[in-house]
Symmetry: C2
Subunit: 234 residues, 2 copies
Amino acid sequence: MEIEVAVVKVGKWATSESGDTLEMIERPRGGFSFVLVDGQRSGRAAKAISNLVARKAISELAEGVRDGAAARAAHDYLYTHKGGKVSATLNILSVDLASSTLVLSRNNHCPIIVITPDDRLWLLDEPSEPVGVRRGTKPLITELPLVSGTVVVVYTDGLEMAGARSSRVFDVPAAVRELTAGSNMSAQQLADSLLEQALALDEGRPHDDISVLVLRILDRTGDGVRRLALSLPL
Amino acid sequence: MEIEVAVVKVGKWATSESGDTLEMIERPRGGFSFVLVDGQRSGRAAKAISNLVARKAISELAEGVRDGAAARAAHDYLYTHKGGKVSATLNILSVDLASSTLVLSRNNHCPIIVITPDDRLWLLDEPSEPVGVRRGTKPLITELPLVSGTVVVVYTDGLEMAGARSSRVFDVPAAVRELTAGSNMSAQQLADSLLEQALALDEGRPHDDISVLVLRILDRTGDGVRRLALSLPL
């Protein structure tokens, strides 16, 4: 098996930086975790918030703390530091090789989209609260087996709000359904296509930070090499 | 300008995991840092060590600590925890947007290879000590301007020791020179080609963990999207 992960990330039009933060860390007992945080508002203030939350979650995960506890710690940290006045959405996606599962942790009203190996689309969309504002906030956690054919799409609300200015709303699950139906899109192609559609709806000027994370499990025996690639416009 | 980074990583033949650890973190004042650690020996024991060192360096960098201090902290931490009995090599490569420089930090006998925009190959190969064994160990730090045309290659000693069993030694700088001469290789292609040559010398059975990190600065105006891709064989 092989796991492919792709992330695309763009900032709100005319802001110097995205208020979303994406961090990745190797899990000490095997596997990887991705942490995606969308800080309240946009630009520098949002970035400072999302950085703080992501850093806290990552530092917990790096020490072997389980995902649910890391999300709770990130909430408590933000809640304590900002007195419950600032919110952020938090998603953690982990490939946990110790339990051979995908662990999806969600503090975000945006759903997580899962395509199962038998090609069914499943929305993780139970009501869920952002971190930072209400004491005792918990993540919603879903654990899935590491099975080839699985696709997971996680995103920040800039994606589903694309086009909102023109009242054409982006139906992200429908787009994922259409893009994956019958085709063998790579994680990178799927992430790029979703972002492209959102940017088209926003007429090339995103009205919010947009981040999309796609994970795909493949039934492929590769060359045994781990690869990481990053491209960063300055 | 655009920055491209590619990492390839493979474990010693017949070990369950690579003893090298590569972590990436966003710098709170802008930019990214990559931390590459090769723990003494191979397999699980080496992995535990490299994880410990990388985690310490990453957690410092995430809080805005400067690279030289982060490398010193990682050394002190390993030295303290293991009583000076365990060594690891440590490289930090940072794209520092606050100072608009590349910061290269080296605690590794392996050189760092730099191709300058005027196409000259430069070796950062002053004698340098690994972390963990001698009190007061310091990194060697080189700062370069963020200029398009720059290429940086960082690697662990598994790369240059490839072929050592058959007494054909891998001349990494010569290979980089040849691969980049006149061609416009992407960071990913360069990293893949170097690994491929090393694996050929090791007859497909690497006799040590091998990691290669390539950074390239391009004079290109892209679409303003940050992209991250990971592929992970299980």
